[in-house]
Protein backbone atom coordinates (compact mmCIF):
# COMPACT_ATOMS: atom_id res chain seq x y z
CA UNK A 1 0.00 0.00 0.00
CA UNK A 2 1.27 3.47 -0.86
CA UNK A 3 1.82 5.94 1.92
CA UNK A 4 -0.38 8.67 0.58
CA UNK A 5 -3.97 7.97 1.44
CA UNK A 6 -5.33 10.36 -1.16
CA UNK A 7 -8.84 9.88 -2.36
CA UNK A 8 -9.01 8.87 -5.97
CA UNK A 9 -11.97 10.13 -7.96
CA UNK A 10 -12.53 7.37 -10.50
CA UNK A 11 -14.34 9.63 -12.98
CA UNK A 12 -11.33 11.98 -13.08
CA UNK A 13 -8.94 9.27 -14.26
CA UNK A 14 -7.97 8.82 -17.89
CA UNK A 15 -9.05 5.55 -19.54
CA UNK A 16 -5.62 4.09 -19.09
CA UNK A 17 -5.40 5.13 -15.43
CA UNK A 18 -8.90 3.87 -14.77
CA UNK A 19 -8.10 0.42 -16.15
CA UNK A 20 -4.97 0.32 -13.98
CA UNK A 21 -7.12 1.37 -11.02
CA UNK A 22 -9.58 -1.42 -11.80
CA UNK A 23 -6.73 -3.92 -11.65
CA UNK A 24 -5.98 -2.63 -8.14
CA UNK A 25 -9.62 -2.61 -7.11
CA UNK A 26 -10.17 -6.16 -8.36
CA UNK A 27 -7.05 -7.24 -6.50
CA UNK A 28 -8.49 -5.72 -3.32
CA UNK A 29 -11.98 -7.07 -3.95
CA UNK A 30 -13.69 -3.67 -4.05
CA UNK A 31 -17.00 -4.50 -5.71
CA UNK A 32 -18.64 -1.05 -5.65
CA UNK A 33 -15.58 0.56 -7.17
CA UNK A 34 -15.53 -2.02 -9.96
CA UNK A 35 -19.20 -1.44 -10.70
CA UNK A 36 -18.65 2.30 -10.78
CA UNK A 37 -15.65 1.95 -13.10
CA UNK A 38 -17.54 -0.33 -15.49
CA UNK A 39 -20.31 2.23 -15.72
CA UNK A 40 -17.82 5.04 -16.31
CA UNK A 41 -16.20 3.13 -19.19
CA UNK A 42 -19.61 2.39 -20.69
CA UNK A 43 -20.49 6.08 -20.52
CA UNK A 44 -17.22 6.85 -22.27
CA UNK A 45 -18.37 4.66 -25.11
CA UNK A 46 -16.28 1.54 -24.45
CA UNK A 47 -17.59 -1.68 -25.99
CA UNK A 48 -18.79 -4.15 -23.31
CA UNK A 49 -16.46 -6.78 -24.77
CA UNK A 50 -13.46 -4.47 -24.39
CA UNK A 51 -14.34 -3.71 -20.77
CA UNK A 52 -14.60 -7.43 -20.11
CA UNK A 53 -11.34 -8.45 -21.76
CA UNK A 54 -9.13 -5.42 -21.12
CA UNK A 55 -10.21 -4.38 -17.64
CA UNK A 56 -11.90 -7.28 -15.84
CA UNK A 57 -10.14 -10.27 -17.41
CA UNK A 58 -6.87 -8.34 -17.30
CA UNK A 59 -7.28 -7.70 -13.57
CA UNK A 60 -8.37 -11.23 -12.78
CA UNK A 61 -5.35 -12.59 -14.63
CA UNK A 62 -3.12 -10.79 -12.13
CA UNK A 63 -5.19 -12.23 -9.26
CA UNK A 64 -4.99 -15.70 -10.84
CA UNK A 65 -1.23 -15.50 -11.29
CA UNK A 66 -0.66 -14.45 -7.69
CA UNK A 67 -2.97 -17.21 -6.50
CA UNK A 68 -1.03 -19.73 -8.60
CA UNK A 69 2.25 -18.41 -7.19
CA UNK A 70 1.11 -18.67 -3.56
CA UNK A 71 0.96 -14.92 -2.96
CA UNK A 72 -2.82 -14.70 -2.70
CA UNK A 73 -5.04 -17.30 -1.04
CA UNK A 74 -8.66 -18.32 -1.22
CA UNK A 75 -10.22 -15.51 0.85
CA UNK A 76 -8.61 -12.79 -1.30
CA UNK A 77 -9.51 -14.58 -4.53
CA UNK A 78 -13.14 -14.96 -3.44
CA UNK A 79 -13.36 -11.25 -2.72
CA UNK A 80 -11.76 -10.40 -6.07
CA UNK A 81 -14.13 -12.75 -7.89
CA UNK A 82 -17.07 -11.19 -6.11
CA UNK A 83 -15.98 -7.76 -7.30
CA UNK A 84 -15.61 -9.13 -10.82
CA UNK A 85 -19.13 -10.53 -10.58
CA UNK A 86 -20.45 -7.08 -9.79
CA UNK A 87 -18.96 -5.82 -13.04
CA UNK A 88 -20.14 -8.85 -15.01
CA UNK A 89 -23.70 -8.35 -13.78
CA UNK A 90 -23.73 -5.01 -15.58
CA UNK A 91 -21.95 -6.29 -18.70
CA UNK A 92 -23.70 -9.63 -19.25
CA UNK A 93 -26.93 -8.36 -20.90
CA UNK A 94 -24.90 -5.90 -22.97
CA UNK A 95 -22.49 -8.60 -24.14
CA UNK A 96 -25.42 -10.68 -25.36
CA UNK A 97 -27.18 -7.75 -27.08
CA UNK A 98 -23.98 -6.65 -28.82
CA UNK A 99 -23.26 -10.19 -30.02
CA UNK A 100 -19.82 -10.27 -28.44
CA UNK A 101 -17.74 -13.36 -29.26
CA UNK A 102 -18.01 -16.28 -26.83
CA UNK A 103 -14.86 -17.68 -25.28
CA UNK A 104 -16.45 -21.00 -24.34
CA UNK A 105 -18.93 -22.67 -22.06
CA UNK A 106 -18.41 -24.93 -19.07
CA UNK A 107 -20.70 -27.08 -16.95
CA UNK A 108 -19.18 -27.65 -13.53
CA UNK A 109 -20.15 -29.40 -10.32
CA UNK A 110 -18.83 -31.15 -7.22
CA UNK A 111 -19.34 -34.93 -7.32
CA UNK A 112 -21.82 -36.99 -5.35
CA UNK A 113 -21.17 -37.09 -1.62
CA UNK A 114 -18.98 -34.03 -1.63
CA UNK A 115 -20.19 -30.80 -0.13
CA UNK A 116 -16.87 -29.03 -0.51
CA UNK A 117 -17.47 -26.45 -3.17
CA UNK A 118 -14.80 -23.93 -2.34
CA UNK A 119 -12.43 -25.07 -5.07
CA UNK A 120 -15.26 -25.50 -7.55
CA UNK A 121 -16.54 -21.99 -6.82
CA UNK A 122 -13.08 -20.60 -7.35
CA UNK A 123 -12.82 -22.32 -10.71
CA UNK A 124 -16.29 -21.03 -11.68
CA UNK A 125 -15.36 -17.52 -10.77
CA UNK A 126 -11.96 -17.57 -12.43
CA UNK A 127 -13.48 -19.09 -15.58
CA UNK A 128 -16.07 -16.32 -15.63
CA UNK A 129 -13.22 -13.96 -14.94
CA UNK A 130 -11.60 -15.24 -18.11
CA UNK A 131 -14.79 -14.65 -20.09
CA UNK A 132 -16.20 -18.19 -20.12
CA UNK A 133 -19.89 -18.85 -19.62
CA UNK A 134 -20.26 -21.14 -16.61
CA UNK A 135 -23.23 -23.30 -15.61
CA UNK A 136 -22.69 -24.26 -11.99
CA UNK A 137 -24.48 -27.42 -10.84
CA UNK A 138 -23.47 -26.92 -7.22
CA UNK A 139 -22.52 -29.75 -4.88
CA UNK A 140 -23.35 -33.45 -4.59
CA UNK A 141 -23.96 -34.28 -8.26
CA UNK A 142 -24.86 -37.80 -9.33
CA UNK A 143 -24.12 -39.07 -12.87
CA UNK A 144 -27.57 -38.11 -14.16
CA UNK A 145 -27.23 -34.57 -12.98
CA UNK A 146 -24.05 -34.14 -15.05
CA UNK A 147 -25.48 -35.91 -18.09
CA UNK A 148 -28.74 -33.94 -18.06
CA UNK A 149 -26.84 -30.70 -17.79
CA UNK A 150 -24.39 -31.37 -20.62
CA UNK A 151 -27.26 -32.44 -22.85
CA UNK A 152 -29.26 -29.33 -22.08
CA UNK A 153 -26.37 -26.87 -22.11
CA UNK A 154 -24.09 -28.36 -24.79
CA UNK A 155 -20.94 -26.95 -23.16
CA UNK A 156 -17.40 -27.20 -24.49
CA UNK A 157 -16.17 -28.38 -21.12
CA UNK A 158 -17.36 -30.56 -18.26
CA UNK A 159 -15.61 -29.79 -14.98
CA UNK A 160 -15.75 -32.05 -11.93
CA UNK A 161 -14.41 -31.35 -8.47
CA UNK A 162 -13.86 -33.44 -5.33
CA UNK A 163 -12.12 -32.66 -2.08
CA UNK A 164 -12.38 -35.98 -0.33
CA UNK A 165 -10.59 -39.24 -0.94
CA UNK A 166 -14.01 -40.80 -0.36
CA UNK A 167 -15.58 -38.96 -3.28
CA UNK A 168 -12.84 -38.60 -5.89
CA UNK A 169 -13.35 -42.06 -7.44
CA UNK A 170 -16.88 -40.98 -8.39
CA UNK A 171 -15.41 -38.91 -11.22
CA UNK A 172 -14.53 -42.14 -12.95
CA UNK A 173 -18.13 -43.31 -12.63
CA UNK A 174 -19.25 -40.20 -14.53
CA UNK A 175 -16.60 -40.54 -17.24
CA UNK A 176 -17.28 -44.28 -17.67
CA UNK A 177 -20.97 -43.53 -18.15
CA UNK A 178 -20.13 -40.93 -20.77
CA UNK A 179 -17.99 -43.51 -22.58
CA UNK A 180 -20.84 -46.05 -22.46
CA UNK A 181 -23.22 -43.54 -23.99
CA UNK A 182 -20.69 -42.69 -26.68
CA UNK A 183 -20.52 -39.00 -25.75
CA UNK A 184 -17.21 -38.88 -23.92
CA UNK A 185 -15.31 -37.35 -26.84
CA UNK A 186 -17.90 -34.66 -27.44
CA UNK A 187 -16.65 -32.78 -24.41
CA UNK A 188 -13.45 -31.65 -22.77
CA UNK A 189 -13.41 -33.19 -19.30
CA UNK A 190 -11.37 -31.36 -16.67
CA UNK A 191 -11.04 -32.54 -13.07
CA UNK A 192 -9.67 -30.93 -9.95
CA UNK A 193 -9.58 -31.08 -6.16
CA UNK A 194 -7.05 -31.23 -3.37
CA UNK A 195 -6.45 -35.00 -3.23
CA UNK A 196 -6.12 -35.41 -7.01
CA UNK A 197 -3.07 -35.30 -9.23
CA UNK A 198 -2.21 -35.50 -12.89
CA UNK A 199 -1.77 -39.23 -12.88
CA UNK A 200 -5.17 -39.72 -11.28
CA UNK A 201 -6.77 -37.51 -13.93
CA UNK A 202 -5.21 -39.63 -16.68
CA UNK A 203 -6.11 -42.92 -15.02
CA UNK A 204 -9.80 -42.11 -14.82
CA UNK A 205 -9.92 -40.86 -18.42
CA UNK A 206 -10.17 -37.10 -17.96
CA UNK A 207 -8.55 -34.78 -20.50
CA UNK A 208 -6.62 -32.99 -17.79
CA UNK A 209 -6.19 -32.49 -14.08
CA UNK A 210 -6.05 -28.85 -13.01
CA UNK A 211 -4.03 -28.13 -9.90
CA UNK A 212 -5.83 -24.90 -9.09
CA UNK A 213 -8.30 -22.40 -10.52
CA UNK A 214 -5.63 -20.46 -12.41
CA UNK A 215 -4.38 -23.63 -14.07
CA UNK A 216 -7.99 -24.59 -14.86
CA UNK A 217 -8.42 -21.37 -16.82
CA UNK A 218 -5.18 -21.84 -18.76
CA UNK A 219 -6.02 -25.48 -19.49
CA UNK A 220 -9.56 -24.62 -20.57
CA UNK A 221 -8.29 -21.96 -22.99
CA UNK A 222 -5.77 -24.38 -24.51
CA UNK A 223 -8.27 -27.18 -25.00
CA UNK A 224 -11.05 -24.96 -26.33
CA UNK A 225 -8.58 -23.37 -28.74
CA UNK A 226 -7.48 -26.79 -29.93
CA UNK A 227 -11.10 -27.91 -30.33
CA UNK A 228 -11.97 -24.85 -32.39
CA UNK A 229 -8.95 -25.47 -34.62
CA UNK A 230 -10.00 -29.07 -35.15
CA UNK A 231 -13.51 -27.96 -36.09
CA UNK A 232 -12.08 -25.41 -38.51
CA UNK A 233 -9.83 -28.07 -40.04
CA UNK A 234 -12.55 -30.71 -40.21
Amino acid sequence: MADEEDDIILADLSDEELVEQMFDDLYDGLKEEIEESVNILLERGWQPYDILTKALVGGMTIVGNDFRDGILFVPEVLLAANAMKGGMFILKPLLISTGAPRVGKMVIGTVKGDIHDIGKNLVSMMMEGAGFEVVDLGINNAVDSYLDAIEAEQPDILGMSALLTTTMPYMKVVIDTMVEKGIRDDYIVLVGGAPLNEEFGKAIGADAYCRDAAVAVETAKTFVGRKHNQLAAG
Binding site: A2, Q21, G70, F73, V111, G113, T166, K172, F200
Partner: protein, 338 residues
Protein backbone atom coordinates in the same frame (compact mmCIF):
# COMPACT_ATOMS: atom_id res chain seq x y z
CA UNK B 1 -7.65 -30.85 34.50
CA UNK B 2 -7.16 -34.58 34.43
CA UNK B 3 -7.82 -36.50 31.28
CA UNK B 4 -6.57 -39.83 29.90
CA UNK B 5 -4.75 -38.15 27.01
CA UNK B 6 -3.19 -35.57 29.31
CA UNK B 7 -1.98 -38.38 31.56
CA UNK B 8 -0.57 -40.36 28.68
CA UNK B 9 1.20 -37.31 27.25
CA UNK B 10 2.86 -36.65 30.59
CA UNK B 11 4.21 -40.19 30.89
CA UNK B 12 5.27 -40.93 27.33
CA UNK B 13 7.73 -39.35 24.89
CA UNK B 14 5.62 -40.13 21.87
CA UNK B 15 2.22 -41.59 21.05
CA UNK B 16 1.20 -43.46 17.93
CA UNK B 17 -2.10 -42.22 16.52
CA UNK B 18 -4.10 -44.01 13.85
CA UNK B 19 -4.13 -43.96 10.05
CA UNK B 20 -6.75 -43.55 7.37
CA UNK B 21 -10.49 -43.95 7.82
CA UNK B 22 -11.78 -43.49 4.27
CA UNK B 23 -9.12 -45.65 2.62
CA UNK B 24 -9.82 -48.49 5.04
CA UNK B 25 -13.59 -48.27 4.60
CA UNK B 26 -13.27 -48.33 0.80
CA UNK B 27 -11.41 -51.59 1.14
CA UNK B 28 -14.44 -52.90 3.06
CA UNK B 29 -16.78 -51.91 0.26
CA UNK B 30 -17.85 -48.34 1.00
CA UNK B 31 -19.11 -46.82 -2.25
CA UNK B 32 -17.67 -43.53 -3.35
CA UNK B 33 -20.03 -40.71 -2.43
CA UNK B 34 -21.74 -42.55 0.40
CA UNK B 35 -21.36 -41.10 3.89
CA UNK B 36 -19.04 -43.27 6.04
CA UNK B 37 -20.93 -42.17 9.19
CA UNK B 38 -24.02 -44.19 8.20
CA UNK B 39 -21.98 -47.33 8.71
CA UNK B 40 -21.76 -46.57 12.44
CA UNK B 41 -25.39 -47.63 12.50
CA UNK B 42 -25.82 -49.96 9.53
CA UNK B 43 -22.51 -51.84 9.51
CA UNK B 44 -21.09 -51.53 13.02
CA UNK B 45 -18.90 -54.61 12.57
CA UNK B 46 -17.01 -52.89 9.77
CA UNK B 47 -16.44 -49.87 11.98
CA UNK B 48 -15.29 -52.11 14.83
CA UNK B 49 -12.88 -53.74 12.37
CA UNK B 50 -11.60 -50.32 11.32
CA UNK B 51 -10.92 -49.33 14.94
CA UNK B 52 -9.46 -52.72 15.82
CA UNK B 53 -7.12 -52.48 12.85
CA UNK B 54 -5.48 -49.41 14.35
CA UNK B 55 -5.46 -50.71 17.93
CA UNK B 56 -3.96 -54.06 16.96
CA UNK B 57 -1.31 -52.32 14.89
CA UNK B 58 -0.20 -50.49 18.03
CA UNK B 59 -2.02 -47.15 18.00
CA UNK B 60 -2.22 -45.44 21.39
CA UNK B 61 -5.00 -43.25 20.12
CA UNK B 62 -7.55 -43.54 17.33
CA UNK B 63 -10.18 -41.33 15.77
CA UNK B 64 -13.87 -42.10 15.57
CA UNK B 65 -15.63 -42.55 12.23
CA UNK B 66 -17.38 -39.21 12.55
CA UNK B 67 -15.31 -36.91 10.33
CA UNK B 68 -18.36 -35.89 8.27
CA UNK B 69 -20.75 -36.20 11.20
CA UNK B 70 -21.75 -32.56 11.46
CA UNK B 71 -25.16 -31.21 10.42
CA UNK B 72 -23.77 -29.35 7.42
CA UNK B 73 -22.19 -32.45 5.89
CA UNK B 74 -24.89 -34.95 6.80
CA UNK B 75 -27.52 -32.63 5.33
CA UNK B 76 -26.27 -33.78 1.92
CA UNK B 77 -27.62 -37.20 2.67
CA UNK B 78 -30.80 -35.87 4.27
CA UNK B 79 -29.45 -36.70 7.70
CA UNK B 80 -28.55 -33.27 9.03
CA UNK B 81 -30.76 -33.88 12.06
CA UNK B 82 -28.82 -37.02 12.96
CA UNK B 83 -25.43 -35.42 13.65
CA UNK B 84 -25.49 -35.93 17.39
CA UNK B 85 -26.84 -39.48 17.21
CA UNK B 86 -24.44 -40.77 14.51
CA UNK B 87 -21.54 -39.15 16.34
CA UNK B 88 -22.59 -40.79 19.60
CA UNK B 89 -22.82 -44.23 18.00
CA UNK B 90 -19.43 -43.79 16.33
CA UNK B 91 -17.91 -42.99 19.72
CA UNK B 92 -19.70 -45.83 21.52
CA UNK B 93 -18.23 -48.39 19.13
CA UNK B 94 -14.81 -46.84 19.64
CA UNK B 95 -15.19 -46.92 23.42
CA UNK B 96 -16.01 -50.63 23.23
CA UNK B 97 -12.84 -51.39 21.23
CA UNK B 98 -10.62 -49.18 23.40
CA UNK B 99 -11.92 -50.67 26.64
CA UNK B 100 -11.19 -54.23 25.52
CA UNK B 101 -7.74 -53.44 24.11
CA UNK B 102 -5.92 -54.64 27.22
CA UNK B 103 -3.91 -51.41 27.46
CA UNK B 104 -4.72 -47.74 27.61
CA UNK B 105 -6.03 -46.52 24.26
CA UNK B 106 -7.47 -43.05 23.75
CA UNK B 107 -10.72 -42.49 21.86
CA UNK B 108 -10.54 -39.20 19.97
CA UNK B 109 -13.84 -37.91 18.61
CA UNK B 110 -13.20 -36.84 15.03
CA UNK B 111 -14.74 -33.54 13.97
CA UNK B 112 -14.18 -32.52 10.35
CA UNK B 113 -14.84 -29.23 8.61
CA UNK B 114 -18.34 -28.00 7.83
CA UNK B 115 -17.40 -27.64 4.16
CA UNK B 116 -18.71 -24.10 4.13
CA UNK B 117 -16.88 -20.79 4.03
CA UNK B 118 -17.33 -18.57 7.03
CA UNK B 119 -18.35 -14.94 7.03
CA UNK B 120 -17.40 -12.34 5.94
CA UNK B 121 -15.99 -14.03 2.80
CA UNK B 122 -18.57 -16.83 2.85
CA UNK B 123 -22.02 -17.35 4.31
CA UNK B 124 -21.59 -19.47 7.45
CA UNK B 125 -21.90 -17.39 10.62
CA UNK B 126 -19.68 -17.96 13.64
CA UNK B 127 -22.75 -18.73 15.78
CA UNK B 128 -24.02 -21.40 13.36
CA UNK B 129 -20.58 -23.01 13.11
CA UNK B 130 -20.26 -23.13 16.89
CA UNK B 131 -23.72 -24.67 17.16
CA UNK B 132 -22.92 -27.42 14.63
CA UNK B 133 -19.62 -28.29 16.27
CA UNK B 134 -21.22 -28.18 19.71
CA UNK B 135 -23.97 -30.56 18.69
CA UNK B 136 -21.44 -33.05 17.37
CA UNK B 137 -19.22 -32.68 20.42
CA UNK B 138 -22.13 -33.47 22.73
CA UNK B 139 -22.81 -36.65 20.76
CA UNK B 140 -19.16 -37.72 20.86
CA UNK B 141 -19.01 -36.99 24.58
CA UNK B 142 -22.15 -39.04 25.25
CA UNK B 143 -20.63 -41.90 23.28
CA UNK B 144 -17.57 -41.87 25.53
CA UNK B 145 -14.85 -40.07 23.56
CA UNK B 146 -11.91 -39.11 25.80
CA UNK B 147 -11.06 -36.04 23.80
CA UNK B 148 -12.41 -34.08 20.83
CA UNK B 149 -10.25 -34.02 17.71
CA UNK B 150 -11.00 -31.38 15.08
CA UNK B 151 -9.07 -32.02 11.86
CA UNK B 152 -8.45 -30.98 8.25
CA UNK B 153 -9.42 -27.37 8.97
CA UNK B 154 -8.33 -24.61 6.55
CA UNK B 155 -9.83 -21.45 8.02
CA UNK B 156 -8.68 -20.02 11.36
CA UNK B 157 -12.24 -18.79 11.95
CA UNK B 158 -13.55 -22.33 11.71
CA UNK B 159 -10.85 -23.61 14.04
CA UNK B 160 -11.84 -20.97 16.60
CA UNK B 161 -15.51 -21.88 16.26
CA UNK B 162 -14.68 -25.52 17.02
CA UNK B 163 -12.62 -24.47 20.07
CA UNK B 164 -15.55 -22.44 21.36
CA UNK B 165 -17.91 -25.39 20.84
CA UNK B 166 -15.59 -27.64 22.85
CA UNK B 167 -15.61 -25.09 25.67
CA UNK B 168 -19.42 -25.18 25.64
CA UNK B 169 -19.34 -28.98 25.77
CA UNK B 170 -16.69 -28.72 28.48
CA UNK B 171 -14.35 -31.26 26.89
CA UNK B 172 -10.58 -31.32 26.31
CA UNK B 173 -9.55 -31.30 22.69
CA UNK B 174 -6.86 -31.49 20.04
CA UNK B 175 -6.89 -29.86 16.65
CA UNK B 176 -5.08 -30.09 13.33
CA UNK B 177 -5.23 -28.04 10.17
CA UNK B 178 -4.47 -29.15 6.64
CA UNK B 179 -1.58 -27.33 4.97
CA UNK B 180 -2.12 -28.21 1.32
CA UNK B 181 -1.49 -24.99 -0.60
CA UNK B 182 2.17 -24.07 -1.02
CA UNK B 183 2.79 -25.05 2.60
CA UNK B 184 -0.16 -23.05 3.92
CA UNK B 185 -3.77 -23.95 4.48
CA UNK B 186 -6.14 -23.28 1.61
CA UNK B 187 -7.12 -20.09 3.41
CA UNK B 188 -3.51 -18.96 3.59
CA UNK B 189 -2.57 -19.78 7.19
CA UNK B 190 1.06 -20.68 7.84
CA UNK B 191 2.36 -23.12 10.44
CA UNK B 192 3.71 -20.33 12.63
CA UNK B 193 0.42 -18.47 12.19
CA UNK B 194 -1.41 -21.48 13.58
CA UNK B 195 0.98 -21.83 16.54
CA UNK B 196 0.36 -18.18 17.33
CA UNK B 197 -3.43 -18.49 17.00
CA UNK B 198 -3.48 -21.46 19.40
CA UNK B 199 -2.10 -19.27 22.17
CA UNK B 200 -4.91 -16.74 21.74
CA UNK B 201 -7.65 -19.30 22.44
CA UNK B 202 -9.32 -19.14 25.87
CA UNK B 203 -9.37 -22.96 26.00
CA UNK B 204 -6.21 -24.02 24.17
CA UNK B 205 -5.93 -27.65 22.97
CA UNK B 206 -3.93 -30.43 24.64
CA UNK B 207 -2.09 -30.84 21.36
CA UNK B 208 -2.21 -29.30 17.92
CA UNK B 209 -0.69 -29.93 14.54
CA UNK B 210 -1.20 -30.86 10.92
CA UNK B 211 -2.98 -33.63 9.05
CA UNK B 212 -3.54 -34.69 5.45
CA UNK B 213 -2.32 -32.07 2.97
CA UNK B 214 0.17 -32.96 0.28
CA UNK B 215 2.36 -35.94 1.06
CA UNK B 216 4.49 -36.68 4.11
CA UNK B 217 7.43 -34.38 3.27
CA UNK B 218 5.30 -31.23 3.27
CA UNK B 219 3.74 -32.23 6.54
CA UNK B 220 7.13 -32.56 8.20
CA UNK B 221 8.11 -29.10 7.01
CA UNK B 222 4.93 -27.85 8.71
CA UNK B 223 5.90 -29.63 11.94
CA UNK B 224 9.31 -27.92 11.79
CA UNK B 225 7.39 -24.64 11.46
CA UNK B 226 5.41 -25.33 14.65
CA UNK B 227 8.57 -26.21 16.54
CA UNK B 228 10.37 -23.10 15.26
CA UNK B 229 7.48 -21.01 16.56
CA UNK B 230 8.59 -22.13 20.02
CA UNK B 231 5.41 -23.86 21.13
CA UNK B 232 5.41 -25.75 24.42
CA UNK B 233 2.36 -27.79 23.48
CA UNK B 234 2.42 -31.31 22.11
CA UNK B 235 2.61 -31.31 18.32
CA UNK B 236 0.55 -33.68 16.17
CA UNK B 237 1.76 -35.07 12.82
CA UNK B 238 -0.72 -37.02 10.70
CA UNK B 239 0.54 -37.14 7.15
CA UNK B 240 -0.75 -39.02 4.11
CA UNK B 241 0.94 -42.21 3.01
CA UNK B 242 2.29 -40.68 -0.17
CA UNK B 243 0.22 -39.55 -3.11
CA UNK B 244 -3.08 -41.07 -4.29
CA UNK B 245 -2.98 -43.14 -7.48
CA UNK B 246 -5.78 -44.86 -9.29
CA UNK B 247 -4.98 -48.54 -9.66
CA UNK B 248 -7.38 -51.23 -10.88
CA UNK B 249 -10.51 -49.35 -9.97
CA UNK B 250 -9.54 -48.12 -6.56
CA UNK B 251 -7.42 -45.46 -4.91
CA UNK B 252 -4.00 -46.54 -3.82
CA UNK B 253 -1.48 -44.38 -1.96
CA UNK B 254 2.09 -44.86 -3.09
CA UNK B 255 3.72 -44.53 0.34
CA UNK B 256 5.13 -47.85 1.55
CA UNK B 257 5.22 -48.96 5.21
CA UNK B 258 9.01 -48.38 5.09
CA UNK B 259 8.49 -44.80 3.95
CA UNK B 260 5.94 -44.15 6.68
CA UNK B 261 8.33 -45.62 9.26
CA UNK B 262 11.00 -43.14 8.14
CA UNK B 263 8.38 -40.39 8.21
CA UNK B 264 7.42 -41.31 11.80
CA UNK B 265 11.05 -41.06 12.98
CA UNK B 266 11.56 -37.76 11.17
CA UNK B 267 8.32 -36.44 12.67
CA UNK B 268 9.48 -37.27 16.18
CA UNK B 269 12.90 -35.75 15.54
CA UNK B 270 11.19 -32.64 14.18
CA UNK B 271 9.34 -32.23 17.45
CA UNK B 272 6.04 -34.09 17.03
CA UNK B 273 4.75 -36.03 20.00
CA UNK B 274 1.58 -37.55 18.60
CA UNK B 275 2.43 -39.26 15.33
CA UNK B 276 0.05 -40.99 12.98
CA UNK B 277 -1.00 -41.14 9.36
CA UNK B 278 -3.88 -39.86 7.32
CA UNK B 279 -5.20 -40.92 3.89
CA UNK B 280 -3.71 -44.18 2.65
CA UNK B 281 -2.22 -45.17 6.01
CA UNK B 282 -3.22 -48.78 6.68
CA UNK B 283 -2.52 -51.05 9.67
CA UNK B 284 0.67 -52.38 8.02
CA UNK B 285 1.97 -48.80 7.85
CA UNK B 286 1.11 -48.22 11.52
CA UNK B 287 2.90 -51.42 12.51
CA UNK B 288 6.06 -50.32 10.71
CA UNK B 289 5.81 -46.88 12.31
CA UNK B 290 5.41 -48.35 15.81
CA UNK B 291 8.33 -50.67 15.36
CA UNK B 292 10.56 -47.88 14.11
CA UNK B 293 9.59 -45.53 16.94
CA UNK B 294 10.23 -48.23 19.54
CA UNK B 295 13.53 -49.45 18.15
CA UNK B 296 15.13 -46.13 17.24
CA UNK B 297 16.24 -43.44 19.70
CA UNK B 298 15.14 -39.88 19.11
CA UNK B 299 17.63 -37.95 17.00
CA UNK B 300 18.34 -34.39 15.98
CA UNK B 301 15.73 -32.30 14.26
CA UNK B 302 16.03 -32.92 10.51
CA UNK B 303 16.96 -30.23 8.02
CA UNK B 304 14.71 -29.69 5.00
CA UNK B 305 17.40 -31.34 2.85
CA UNK B 306 17.38 -34.41 5.06
CA UNK B 307 13.59 -34.73 4.73
CA UNK B 308 13.85 -34.58 0.93
CA UNK B 309 16.62 -37.18 0.96
CA UNK B 310 14.70 -39.60 3.14
CA UNK B 311 11.10 -39.35 1.99
CA UNK B 312 10.96 -37.14 -1.09
CA UNK B 313 10.56 -33.61 -2.42
CA UNK B 314 8.26 -30.85 -1.24
CA UNK B 315 5.31 -29.70 -3.37
CA UNK B 316 6.39 -26.05 -3.19
CA UNK B 317 9.64 -24.15 -2.64
CA UNK B 318 8.45 -22.13 0.33
CA UNK B 319 5.84 -22.58 3.05
CA UNK B 320 5.37 -18.90 3.78
CA UNK B 321 7.13 -18.92 7.17
CA UNK B 322 10.12 -16.92 8.34
CA UNK B 323 12.32 -15.09 5.87
CA UNK B 324 11.46 -17.53 3.08
CA UNK B 325 7.99 -16.08 2.60
CA UNK B 326 6.95 -15.45 -0.99
CA UNK B 327 7.01 -12.29 -3.04
CA UNK B 328 5.49 -9.20 -1.46
CA UNK B 329 1.88 -8.49 -2.20
CA UNK B 330 1.11 -6.18 -5.05
CA UNK B 331 1.31 -2.54 -4.09
CA UNK B 332 -1.48 -0.15 -4.76
CA UNK B 333 -0.67 3.14 -6.32
CA UNK B 334 -3.07 5.03 -4.09
CA UNK B 335 -5.89 4.48 -1.72
CA UNK B 336 -9.40 5.50 -2.41
CA UNK B 337 -11.66 6.42 0.45
CA UNK B 338 -15.42 6.15 0.38
Amino acid sequence: MTNPLHDLLSTRDWLLADGATGTNLFNMGLESGDPPEFWNETRPDNIRALYRGAVEAGSDLFLTNTFGGNASRLKLHNAGHRARELSRIGAELAREIADTAGRRVIVAGSVGPTGEIMQPVGTLSHADAVEMFHEQAEGLKEGGADVMWVETISAPEEFRAAAEAFALADVPWCGTMSFDTAGRTMMGMTSDGMAEMIETLPNPPLAFGANCGTGASDLLRTVLGFAAAGTKRAIIAKGNAGIPKYVDGHIHYDGTPELMARYALLARNAGAKIIGGCCGTMPEHLRAMREALESTPKGDSPTLERIVEEIGAFSSDSDGTGDQSGAPKRERRGRRRG
